[in-house]
């Protein structure tokens, strides 16, 4: 092919060789998504999806249906009951109870609701604010870009935990405070990523074509740029869920997060800290939940990244 600077296709890795179809001109053709999906399903991280669904999403949505215990008030008489398979355990409290006799499983389930709520809200805020700023900075450049880039760098270099402690010390812990703190810390990652993508999309020939056609800048942002950075956004959002959950848990753990007695996973780990050698289940199960969910979300995000990889898109050869 007479294209200059065409990448050598034969250096492609296995993935590309197997996944891509080439059209008559030898250029990669993207298959319809359902075909790609069905050809790739052997590598879909089912375990991760399963974990996220059954440890995080379903419990959060169906908490009131799944469990009848009260997550906030326990039965003092049943305090420190071990999980059911241990001596003294009972199936009423499958994963045991804490110092105040509250059912661990129930608190985990309601904790999932908190994690999901916090991450959904913060990521929505972060993604909307971050990608708007990123789009504007990347697209318009000039002083807008300089200002936003400076903001991004500043926010990324702030010590989050310290910042959180200061704010909480000043106005006290609450749900709103923690959402605000986390949103403030994650918008910058969205902004940085989206800005970078926008910078490269802005230089593409199809954006130049749209300008020549007389399309307004806003319309170009919405119809040409946004759809082409959407993949990045989806991947980043998935990866950020894990980050937010971890951050929320850490803040809650040090007491700067969700106020007690709300059953955040981080709060639960903190609560069982002094009992860790005797009543290990109090900290262990929430810790396990955090570990599994964060790990799964990372795997899922990585997979999504590959799945939606720009290589799969028609990108020309730049």
């Amino acid at each position: 092919m007479s294209v200059r600077n065409q990448p050598a296709r034969f250096e492609s890795d296995t993935d590309e060789a197997l996944e891509l179809n080439f059209d008559i001109q030898g250029h990669p053709v993207r298959r319809p998504w359902w075909k790609v999906w069905s050809k790739r399903n052997n590598r879909v991280p089912w375990v991760s999806i399963f974990v996220v669904l059954f440890v995080l999403v379903l419990p959060a949505l169906l908490a009131d249906v799944i469990t009848t215990h009260d997550p906030l008030r326990g039965v003092l008489a049943d305090r420190l009951t071990p999980p059911f398979w241990m001596e003294g355990g009972t199936t009423t409290y499958p994963l045991g109870t804490d110092k105040q006799g509250r059912d661990i499983l129930t608190r985990l389930i309601y904790g999932a609701r908190i994690s999901l709520t916090v991450s959904t809200i913060t990521i929505l805020i972060g993604a909307v604010v971050g990608s708007t700023l990123g789009l504007l900075a990347g697209y318009f450049g000039g002083w807008v870009d300089r200002f936003v880039s400076w903001l991004i760098d500043t926010f990324l270099s702030l010590p989050h935990v310290l910042l959180a402690l200061v704010i909480v010390a000043a106005i006290g812990p609450s749900f709103v405070t923690i959402v605000a703190i986390i949103a403030v810390t994650i918008w910058a990652s969205f902004a940085r990523q989206v800005r970078g993508e926008t910078l490269s999309v802005r230089e593409t020939e199809y954006v130049a074509r749209a300008h020549v056609a007389g399309t307004t800048s806003w319309r170009i942002l919405l119809r040409h740029v946004l759809p082409n950075v959407a993949n990045t956004l989806i991947v980043l959002a998935t990866l950020q869920v894990g980050v937010v959950i971890l951050e929320e848990s850490s803040l809650s753990f040090i007491g700067a997060g969700i106020p007690r007695p709300n059953p955040s996973w981080g709060v639960m780990v903190a609560d069982g800290r002094d009992q860790i050698l005797i009543s290990w289940w109090i900290s262990f199960f929430p810790g396990l939940c955090i570990l599994l969910v964060v790990l799964s979300l990372n795997l899922l995000g990585d997979w999504l990244r590959d799945f939606l990889d720009p290589k799969m898109r028609q990108r020309g050869r730049s």
Binding site: W150, E205, Y206, A208, A210, P227, N228, S318
Partner: protein
């Protein structure tokens, strides 16, 4: 001589080269385009030729009002393109359209061909859905495609077909000027011929003027009426196709012809006149920019040559042709 459609006068674009973060300090300028003048006549083709990095694309972008010039003017029918606003801007956007080099990068991957083709129309006019559909259909047929193909996405087409889609989109508002930035160089030889024939047919049928940008002399000879040869941001020679191809004057133009590959093994290149490579645009030679590679370099070449008209419409910027020396 036909009427002029677009007149470009001493057009320049200097890109600042900066150091450091957040903009930082400007350490120099790349004179991507430096004092370029040319005229495009109604319904005719002007070709801009030159090596990679000589400023062809930048010129095209200035003409298309995608960049603001550092100096000089671009006038379409006597109106300064870079001063337009409001309704005049809409007029400009419907009058001048473009086709870019890379058919794999110039169509939005997430839009249907139908919407891509309709874009210049809906962006500038209030038109009903039915009318858009009809115009898209007609235009697709004009470039030799079928109406139903409008429902497909760009990736479902071959390179040649994609370039047809780009062409259809550019033609839907019946522009007076079409800027073609290397429209065939990404295509296969056999497909190149199709697209070039199509371009010629459309010009004959619609009377659209072309600004054709190319590094391939053969393509230029086939399509163009007038040629301007660019080197490091300026035009070194311009004239009609016959003047440039039959009697090239500037040593650079002659060097380009020498370097062009032969059409038959009998005509293998004898000797190469142009040695070495183009100097860095950050640090161009003083005087005549070509003097570092010129086989006929003289001491006077350290001063900037004037542009001389050596024949009717045939201009050369070279000291060899200034009266004192020739």
């Amino acid at each position: 001589m036909a009427e002029p459609l677009m007149v470009v006068e001493s057009l320049s674009k200097h890109y600042p080269v900066s150091e450091g973060q957040y903009g930082g300090r400007t350490v120099g300028y790349v004179k991507a385009v430096d004092g370029v003048s040319f005229t495009i006549e109604k319904g005719r083709t002007l070709a801009l030729v030159g090596e990679s990095g000589c400023g062809k694309t930048t010129t095209a972008r200035l003409v298309l009002r995608l960049r603001t010039p550092t100096g000089g003017t671009v006038k379409l029918e006597e109106r300064d393109v870079h001063q337009l606003s409001g309704a005049d801007l809409k007029w400009f956007r419907t009058s001048v359209q473009a086709v870019f080099q890379d058919p794999w990068a110039s169509l939005s991957p997430r839009m249907r061909v139908r919407d891509i083709v309709a874009e210049p129309l809906v962006a500038n006019h209030r038109v009903s859905k039915d009318e858009v559909r009809e115009r898209v259909g007609v235009t697709l047929e004009k470039v030799g495609m079928q109406r139903w193909q409008g429902d497909l996405y760009p990736h479902e087409f071959s390179g040649g077909q994609r370039q047809r889609v780009a062409l259809a989109s550019a033609l839907i508002t019946e522009p007076r000027l079409l800027v073609l930035d290397e429209p065939v160089s990404a295509l296969d030889v056999s497909v190149q011929a199709q697209v070039m024939n199509l371009l010629k047919d459309l010009q004959a049928e619609l009377g659209t003027a072309f600004l054709l940008i190319s590094h391939d002399l053969a393509t230029v000879r086939y399509v163009a009426d007038h040629v301007a040869v660019m080197y490091m941001g300026s035009i070194v020679e311009s004239g009609s196709v016959d003047q440039i191809f039959e009697t090239p004057r500037h040593p650079y133009t002659r060097g380009l012809f020498d370097a062009a590959l032969p059409t038959h093994p009998r005509n293998r290149t004898e000797k190469l006149e142009i040695k070495g490579e183009m100097p860095s645009p950050l640090n161009p030679p003083t005087g005549c920019r070509f003097r570092t590679r010129c086989p006929q370099v003289m001491s006077i070449c350290e001063t900037v040559p004037e542009t001389i008209e050596v024949a009717q419409g045939h201009r050369v910027a070279c000291h060899l042709f200034t009266p004192e020396w020739s």
